[in-house]
Amino acid sequence: MNLEDIIKGTNTYYCLECGKCTSVCPVARYDKSFSPRMLIENALLGFEDELVLDRELFSCLTCYMCQSECPSDVDFPVFIREARSMAQGRGQHGVCAHSGQLQSLARLMTSPAIKQRRLEWLSQEYRVSETSDTLLWVGCAPYFEPMFEDIGFSALGITKASLKILNLLGIEPKLLANERCCGHDALWTGDIETFKKLAEHNAAQIKEAGVKKIVFTCPEGYRTFKLDYPNYVDLDCEVQHFSELLAEKMGNKSGISGKLQEIRKKVTYQDPCRLGRQMGVYDAPRKILESIPGIELVEMKHSGPESICCGTSAFTNCDAYSNMLRAERLSEAVETGAELLITSCPKCQTHFRCAQVDKGEEHRPIPKIEVMDLADLVASAIGGGGKSSKRE
């Protein structure tokens, strides 16, 4: 893809240079050298080198804040994504967090010969079914488990909690023993080749499994399957985020509202970019929170469509600015007076937890608040279940 195709494909010609994108951009607020408008202008003026060789190209969070404000409907996140794939072609990768292990694991998962051991955590306590037409997507959780142990985060805790809740709802989902990374991070860092291979592999497996519906505990997988897979693979399946499924089942007869114990807590909710602005799911998680007896939901200064990103996307260019952004978001959470920050994205949780154990803290204090996944909270309300917070 060349620059002109990117411009045409993303409405970039319609840019009015109004600068709304830069004024709402959470990165630009801290990183003064980052400007979405400037990136667009560079493209329109044909300054390819200035665009693709700029380190800042990988600083964009693709949080869709700019796109929701743009009067000309320029698809800035996709513009960034395509520009990054051009940059990849010229040897630019951005600075990968965690030494790039996660990106490397995604590339390794394109190997057809691997037989993963991703379901070893599955115990008798959970009921799964080989013949079910509903699939629970486990995703990166088994890899995140050892990786984020030291920040007290258990991604598998979220999977276990979700599975427990599904069981209680009478759903015994199928789990795939050899599913691959959904490719979200590869796609958004411009590594289209890896993404395509992963997508093809997953689509083939899902077709073979004969499932009708896939449930995601992670908004990134959900988005990728719903919006991005159709452009690359043929997948005839309904996809749903766990919170949507749960909200649906909350009200009706087979629902679990009656089985929820009281939790006396004030909580606030972080809308993940992928679930909120990108997929438009704002009400489902709130409905769930409100139906737990004793829970009082208070909103942060920026919430819903205006909610601020957790500071890093696709594990790339996580820097001091990202941490400033996280500190800001965490202080908004603390200001509400809530004891718990609830989110429904595993990655939001890693970033918020990581910021709170950051070693550079003596220079800039980071507000402290416990972070928890929505599924974990519901699981603790029904008694037991997985727990994604620290395993004592």
């Binding site: 292990q101 998962m109 010969a113 050892p146």
Partner: protein, 142 residues
């Protein structure tokens, strides 16, 4: 697996294992030529990405070898290395890689004999379990 010659990437600490490999050579000890040695300044500086990249590039096994716990030139390199390897091992386990493919050893500068033995053992084990499943990455699915 007839005729299979495993490829091993060995990250060796400059202060001990690299010298041990040198000693094994100058003492004319015999060990298989399946190993490619990468000299690093400390086992503690080996990033998990180095190991993953080696597998991406088609290595059948990776060896990280450095000083004994109390010998480190930089005080606590081996402790760091052990912590990194423990985490990485868990991830490689999920990925479906056999445990033998990643080996962590402590070989002092005087232990040329040990170095030769480690390589011999590793080649033997890898020959038994065959080529890395990650090797086919580039050819298939394309």
């Amino acid at each position: 697996m007839a005729g299979f010659e495993p490829q091993i990437i060995a990250f060796c600490c400059n202060w001990c294992t690299y010298a041990a490999a040198d000693l094994a050579g100058t003492s004319r000890m015999q060990y298989p030529a399946n190993v490619r040695i990468v000299r690093v300044m400390c086992s503690g500086m080996v990033s998990p990405l180095y190991v993953l990249k080696a597998f991406e590039g088609g290595a059948d096994g990776v060896l990280i070898a450095g000083c004994h716990l109390t010998d480190c030139h930089y005080i606590d390199g081996p402790v760091k290395c052990d912590a990194m390897v423990a985490k990485l091992r868990d991830m490689l386990h999920v990925l479906g890689l056999e445990d033998e493919r990643l080996r962590r050893e402590m070989v002092a500068a005087s232990e040329g004999v040990l170095f030769a033995r480690v390589i011999r053992e590793m080649v033997e084990q890898l020959k038994k379990i065959g080529p890395s499943p990650l090797k086919a990455r580039t050819e298939a699915l394309a």
